[in-house]
């Protein structure tokens, strides 16, 4: 197995905010979603990977090269999309394309053209005249065109319309088919995470969880629909109760045992939606310590 991105005991303090990442290795050919509430530290985490925000302690390696090395040729292997497109207002899409095509030896004109033509990105207009959604699309087209082995996308679909977002997901999934690309994506869109991610990393108040496999995470939760309300306020494993009879559990076996021991009839049992699980984790912050 190859790990293009490896993080070792990373620490960063900015005023009263502290970001701490014990150890994290991102596997090649996977999509990892970085999930957290606003201000949790996702963007800071991405910027540290790009050495735009300097770490206090620890190490970040891209294909074995420290991002703090004087030689920053590792940047040719990463396409990074920040939340906002800064410093580009005076350029047109074509001018930015010329800049990127020169700087990235892996530049793929066909990928850039296909994405920008499909989404009707006006490449001859100055960036300052584009709407936030079109700016995002242009930024994505440029980052896809870089054709790098690592893509880091910070909330790439935040300002995009639904058809463009769907096309983006389809396009990215198609790119992933070759198996040599590694994607790190920060998103608030449960749908993006559901369709794209293989792994999830949660960030809560600067604390970062281990890598969690999406499918295993989903199956470790269970939603029990009971015939009657349980007599206790909290059954083992219960993390949430709705309509008095619907229990969300993060320890399904313990919950099942308790229910059967107490003769509580289960009407239905489901794996909950990923969105519900993410919401619970972000509200409770419990998975961060897993």
């Amino acid at each position: 197995m190859t790990f293009p991105l490896v993080i070792k005991n990373l620490e960063k303090s900015i005023d009263d905010f502290h970001l701490s990442i014990p150890d994290l290795a991102i596997e090649e050919g996977t999509v990892t979603a970085v999930v957290g509430t606003n201000g949790a530290g996702k963007s800071t985490f991405f910027k540290m990977m790009m050495n735009l925000v300097k770490q206090d302690n620890g190490e970040i390696e891209v294909y074995g090269h420290s991002v703090r090395d004087v030689d920053d040729s590792w940047k040719q292997q990463i396409a990074y999309q920040a939340q906002t497109m800064i410093g580009c207002d005076a350029f047109t899409g074509e001018q930015l394309r010329n800049l990127m095509a020169e700087l990235y030896p892996s530049w793929d004109e066909a990928l850039f053209r296909r994405f920008s033509e499909k989404l009707n990105i006006p490449l001859n207009k100055k960036v300052q005249k584009l709407s936030p959604g079109v700016k995002t699309k242009l930024n994505l087209a440029l980052n896809f065109g870089k054709n790098t082995s690592i893509l880091m996308l910070d909330e790439p679909t935040a300002a995009m319309d639904i058809p463009s977002r769907n096309y983006f997901i389809q396009f990215l999934l198609e790119l992933m088919e070759k198996g040599d690309r590694t994607v790190l994506i920060a998103s608030h869109q449960a749908d993006d995470i559901k369709k794209l991610a293989d792994y999830l990393v949660f960030i809560n108040k600067g604390r970062v969880s281990q890598l969690l496999e999406k499918d295993s995470l989903a199956s470790s939760y269970r939603l029990f629909w009971l015939k009657e309300e349980p007599p206790v306020s909290r059954v083992p494993g219960e993390i949430k109760r709705t309509y008095k009879k619907v229990i969300l559990s993060n320890q399904p076996d313990a919950t099942m045992t308790y229910l059967s021991q107490n003769n509580l009839v289960i009407v239905d049992e489901q794996i909950p939606e990923l969105e519900d699980i993410i919401q619970e984790i972000l509200m409770e912050g419990e998975m961060v310590d897993v």
């Binding site: 900015i14 963007s43 800071t44 910027k47 790009m50 735009l52 925000v53 300097k54 004087v70 920053d72 040729s73 940047k75 040719q76 990074y80 920040a82 906002t84 497109m85 800064i86 410093g87 580009c88 207002d89 005076a90 350029f91 001018q95 010329n98 800049l99 990127m100 020169e102 700087l103 990235y104 300052q128």
Partner: protein, 241 residues
């Protein structure tokens, strides 16, 4: 050499998008030439200080007037002031030396063009300046002023990576500017009983070669200092935006 070649390529890209701003440089050179031409006779006679002040304001403004807004030094987040364009380039696979070198090329080019235009223009229209300097010495005078402009104007490209602005930074910056002009006044008007520009005319006339050499050496040393300052800032600053 490869660093400079790549930096030049980056500067050319920047120049492509800021073509119309070079018109500003021509307009400014024209306005200031007219002002210098008008004020040259009283200045050469009575050392009026305001002439030196305007000459310094001119050399400072030409180094950043050619930049579109997005390339200019501005507030980027709560504490950080810098050039958003630099922050964007810093995300890309561009060697730090190339990136920093590229920031100096266009401001220095506009300084050279701006100074040649203003001083040659003033010389052509002002018989008083022609009497004070011979054509050959005029070359020395232009070189001296290009070097002074580079030394002072280098501050602007050196600031592109950014500065963390603390509570009293603006106060100290303002105080330094005032201090600079007060110092200039005390040294030249009070102590030497001449003007700064007039003193450089004297240097160009009396020590032509020496003043050219010293000006070039000083400009190179100061540019080296600005370059090192830029490198330190890039290593230090957190680009949170």
């Amino acid at each position: 050499m490869d660093t400079f070649r790549k930096a030049l390529w980056l500067a050319r890209i920047e120049m492509d998008v800021s073509k119309k701003h070079y018109l500003t440089l021509l307009i400014m050179a024209g306005i200031y030439t007219f002002f210098f031409y008008l004020s040259m006779p009283p200045y050469l006679e009575e050392n009026i200080f305001i002439f030196d002040v305007f000459l310094i304001i001119y050399l400072v403004t030409i180094s950043f007037s050619i930049k579109p807004k997005t390339f200019q030094y501005q507030k980027m987040d709560d504490d950080l002031y810098g050039s958003p364009y630099f922050a964007m380039l810093n995300q890309l696979p561009i060697k730090r030396k190339v990136l920093i070198t590229s920031r100096f090329i266009l401001p220095y080019m506009s300084i050279v063009i701006g100074m040649i235009l203003a001083l040659t223009g003033t010389y052509i229209f002002s018989p008083e300046l022609q009497d004070a300097v011979d054509p050959l010495q005029l070359i020395a005078l232009i070189v001296i002023w290009i070097c002074i402009s580079i030394s002072i104007g280098g501050l602007f490209p050196a600031s592109d990576p950014g500065d963390e602005i603390k509570r009293f930074t603006f106060f100290w910056s303002f105080a330094s500017i005032i201090g600079f002009f007060v110092g200039l006044y005390l040294i030249f008007q009070v102590w030497l009983d001449t003007g700064f520009f007039k003193w450089t005319i004297y240097l160009a006339n009396e020590h032509t070669l020496l003043s050219i050499m010293i000006s070039i050496i000083v400009a190179c040393l100061v540019t080296w200092y600005w370059f090192r300052h830029s490198q330190k800032q890039v290593k230090k600053i957190d680009y949170l935006q």
